[in-house]
């Protein structure tokens, strides 16, 4: 039987009246969508990923792009997705890979949470005229302070605080490794966090020497593959993050294909040129919470207790209990990554079906930590599908100290969320190591875009706080009273500990 190929996803058209045959589309499309046919340019729609690079670069606005011109017989259960996945797997016998975040049409809880604003009895605060404090400290806090009095009656602080990261805004950039993304992309992000007084993660790919000037704003990552991990690397970071799981692919490791491991990547990751970089699903020295506690301790010991240590887990059903264990491990922050988190490459079945929404996870983690009386001692960072400043504000009101963005920062640099990152051909120079493609991304310019995004969201968060009559982020954190659920079921409202709209 002939399976044939699945219908094209997009149809690309060229408006002949407008096209001037300059050939830029050919040059710009790494997927080979355009080619010369005689003296005309034609489009091979099958190759298109809807990355929009050609459209952005066409000087004549001659290119048209439409989704799915061919319909299957409609069926409520056997969706197009379901059938195409079977065709593809029947042909290849492989796991289907996918990039970026969960592509299932699941409703967003964030969109069903409404923020509050003051009227009359409680004046709203104008952030343009009044101070608005978004400064956030990430790290362990004591449960209580101890004081003594000097002979002169002065109060002396006895408690010694452990090191914390000081953020000017609660918005950080999550871990995207050199390898998964290009060095130019990392440089742009690093400049942006430097400019905006926040931090970014290096991902599990080590730290390239070109990033050294920004190291005081970098959080280094220790993942199961231990790529690039050495004492020099640990000492360069402002903080260290142990990655246990990732929202896009809970329970599985990472895989960077050999083709992406160029000389520079191999050097930074400390692995042979062209070899596959495989992070195993588990850390081979962590099979229990006690093991994790030991690793936290060893990393602290190795860096002389000068750096906060974070632990990142994917949002899963048991995230709250795991976070409570992490809180007792000596870790300074727990990062919870929701099921909408992005990725360079993951099995599609994981990306789309494993994990839980960050809204529910943060809420449950915050509640559990409070229940056990340890919430105050550990910071909670939420990530995975944060799309705008309202999501940031809602995540904090649900209990996060700060958030990580990933995809949003990439979109600020040009990413069109085409979901083809795993192919290493990113037309925007982001998720690729091909030198000609990498060169398309200007780190200076994109740093400005990313910094603009962070600044714009920060301003919007201040406005939202001001409208709610709050002038310090501490008073927004875990403040469920400032949220109401709309069209959420009772069970979800209970998990979120949020009242329904109108209540």
């Amino acid at each position: 039987m002939v399976l044939g190929s699945v219908p094209v996803k997009y149809r690309v058209t060229i408006d002949r009246d407008r096209c001037m045959e300059c050939g830029r589309c050919i040059e710009n499309c790494p997927y080979g969508t355009f080619r010369w046919e005689g003296d005309k340019i034609t489009a091979v729609s099958r190759n298109c990923t809807a990355c929009h690079r050609c459209i952005a670069m066409c000087p004549r606005d001659a290119i048209g792009l439409e989704e799915r011109p061919v319909d299957y017989r409609s069926h409520p259960v056997w969706t197009v997705e379901a059938r195409e996945a079977i065709f593809n797997q029947a042909r290849t016998g492989r796991v289907i890979l996918a990039g970026m975040g969960n592509a299932q049409p699941l409703p967003s809880i964030f969109d069903r949470l409404l923020l509050d604003a003051c009227q009359v009895t409680n004046p709203s605060i104008d952030p343009l005229r009044e101070p608005m404090e978004l400064r956030t400290y990430i790290g362990k806090k004591p449960k209580r302070l101890e004081f003594s009095r000097t002979g002169a009656g002065d109060v002396e602080l006895e408690t010694k605080l452990t090191p914390n990261l000081m953020l000017e805004t609660p918005i950080m950039i999550g871990h995207m490794s050199y390898g998964a993304i290009s060095l130019n992309a990392q440089l742009a992000l690093a400049r942006a966090v430097h400019k905006t007084g926040t931090f970014m993660g290096t991902g599990e790919g080590g730290m390239h020497p070109n990033l050294y000037p920004y190291q005081d704003r970098l959080i280094v990552q220790v993942a199961s593959g231990r790529f690039g991990v050495g004492i020099d690397y640990l000492e360069r970071g402002a903080a260290i993050e142990i990655k246990i799981g990732q929202g896009a692919k809970p329970g599985i490791g990472g895989h960077l294909p050999g083709e992406k491991v160029c000389a520079d990547v191999s050097c930074t990751r400390m692995i042979p040129l062209g070899s596959d970089a495989i992070s195993p699903a588990p850390h081979h020295d962590i099979y229990s919470i006690e093991d994790l506690a030991q690793l936290v301790r060893s990393l602290k010991e190795a860096t002389e207790w000068k750096k906060p240590v974070f632990v990142k887990i994917a949002a899963v059903h048991n995230a709250a209990a795991i976070a409570a264990g992490i809180a007792r491990s000596g870790a300074d922050a727990v990062v919870v990554d929701g099921f909408r988190g992005g990725t360079g490459a993951a099995p599609k079945v994981f990306r789309d079906h494993v994990g839980i929404p960050i809204e529910a996870a943060v809420s449950a983690v915050d509640a559990k930590l409070r229940d056990q009386g340890v919430r105050n001692e550990i910071s909670v960072i939420a990530s995975g599908g944060i799309r705008n400043s309202a999501d940031v504000t809602k995540a904090i009101a649900l209990g996060a100290d700060a958030i990580y963005i990933g995809t949003a920062a990439l979109v600020a640099m040009g990413c069109r969320v085409c979901g083809n990152c795993y192919r290493g051909l990113c037309p925007w120079g982001i998720a690729t190591q091909r030198p000609d493609l990498v060169a398309r991304l200007d780190p200076e310019k994109e740093a400005v875009h990313v910094a603009n995004l962070i600044e714009a969201w920060t301003l919007e968060v201040s406005e939202l706080m001001g409208a709610a009559g709050i002038n310090a982020i501490e008073s927004l954190r875990g403040n469920r009273d400032r949220l109401r659920g709309y069209m959420l079921d009772e069970g979800m409202l209970e998990v979120l500990d949020v009242l329904p709209a109108g209540a």
Binding site: K143, L157, N164, A468, G469, N471
Partner: protein, 349 residues
């Protein structure tokens, strides 16, 4: 809205409640006739060693026996009586106010440095959440809170406030917004030695409540003021911050100010904000908190509610309005407007 007034006599001399009744009524424009109340320190010298538990019973027959049994399990009832009240034309008596003079048995609460206080706190939380129709709203030694839904004069006359004497008085005239006007919702709010009167709204209530509940307190009165009493109890009694520092935890200086402080102070204030960030209160408020050693008044960090302080000899007054203070003491030595977040402290010598 809401009007607050308080006075402390720093020499410890007793004042009767006649003048504070008039001063509170002076601010009737700040209220709506749905709640007023008074707290007096030094009210029960004859039972000074007992905890004075003031209770609202919805009805004596069904609920009182349960409370009696509970109290007798945890200690001894030294004396009990209905709080005398005097019918007022416009005040509807919906609860029966009762008082117990109670001596907890410290041997029943082990492993804590302050067993008696912990027993009383436990009882307040337990009764207010688990015995319907029973509300303990005042639980300090030698202290009494008297409150009801009505105008200040009515409530004062209902309890004959002028007959009580004390060295600290707190009073509150309520304009309820967040919750209906009910007896339990009237101020002052009290736990053990702590009493609070509050004008404003606490926008950080959600954060504060979740924070304080993780230390075992339970917020039962459906109002943001309650949480202030518990926060102060946590910071001042359990964590040992002095009044000044406790206020600095509740209404801390801005980061810009902290950054500009000398090293030692900077470290101190930074540590307070980091550790007690969830206790920090936001929104418009003016608050006076009292305990047996004195009073402290403060506002939110940008002073969205008024607060005036004044002195006359040994007496320190804090109120929403100068006119109210002048009603108590027409001739004042000094009147000033405290800055946003700056505590005004009146300590008994």
């Amino acid at each position: 809205m809401c009007g607050i007034i308080s006075v402390v006599d720093r020499s410890g001399a007793a004042m009767d409640g006649a003048r504070i009744r008039d001063a509170l009524a002076m601010m009737n424009e700040r209220g709506s006739g749905e709640g007023a109340g008074y707290a007096v320190y030094g009210a029960y010298p004859e039972y000074a060693e007992c905890y004075a538990l003031h209770v609202f019973f919805d009805n004596i027959i069904e609920t009182k026996a349960a409370l009696d049994t509970l109290l007798e399990t945890w200690g001894a009832i030294v004396h009990e009586e209905e709080i005398p009240t005097y019918e007022q034309p416009h005040l509807k008596k919906v609860h029966t106010p009762w008082r117990y003079f109670f001596r907890p048995d410290p041997s029943l609460m082990t492993g804590t440095p302050s067993p008696e206080e912990d027993i009383v706190t436990y009882l307040v939380m337990k009764v207010n959440t688990a015995i319907p129709g029973t509300l303990i709203y005042s639980s300090g030694k030698n202290i009494g809170v008297f409150k009801a839904a009505g105008w200040p004069e009515e409530v004062a006359d209902f309890y004959r406030i002028q007959d009580y004497k004390g060295y600290i008085w707190l009073a509150h005239n309520r304009y309820p917004t967040n919750t209906r006007g009910w007896w339990g919702g009237a101020h002052p709010f009290n736990l053990l030695d702590w009493s609070v009167v509050h004008n404003g709204e606490i926008t950080s209530y959600g954060t504060n409540r979740r924070y304080i509940e993780s230390f075992g307190y339970k917020c039962t009165m459906f109002t943001d003021t309650e949480v202030v009493a518990y926060l102060v109890d946590l910071l001042a009694r359990r964590h040992g911050l002095d009044e000044g520092l406790a206020v600095r935890a509740l209404a801390p200086p801005f980061w810009d100010e902290i950054d500009g402080m000398p090293e030692r102070e900077k470290n101190l204030y930074r540590a307070i904000r980091l550790t007690y960030g969830s206790a920090m209160m936001n929104g418009p408020f003016a608050i006076v908190v009292a305990n047996r050693d004195g009073i402290v008044g403060f506002t939110d960090r940008i002073k969205l509610r008024p607060l005036v302080a004044a002195e006359e000899g040994d007496r320190l007054y804090i109120s929403s309005e100068e006119a109210a203070i002048r009603r108590m003491a027409p001739e004042l030595d000094r009147v000033w407007m405290p800055r946003a977040g700056e505590p005004v402290i009146g300590r008994v010598r």
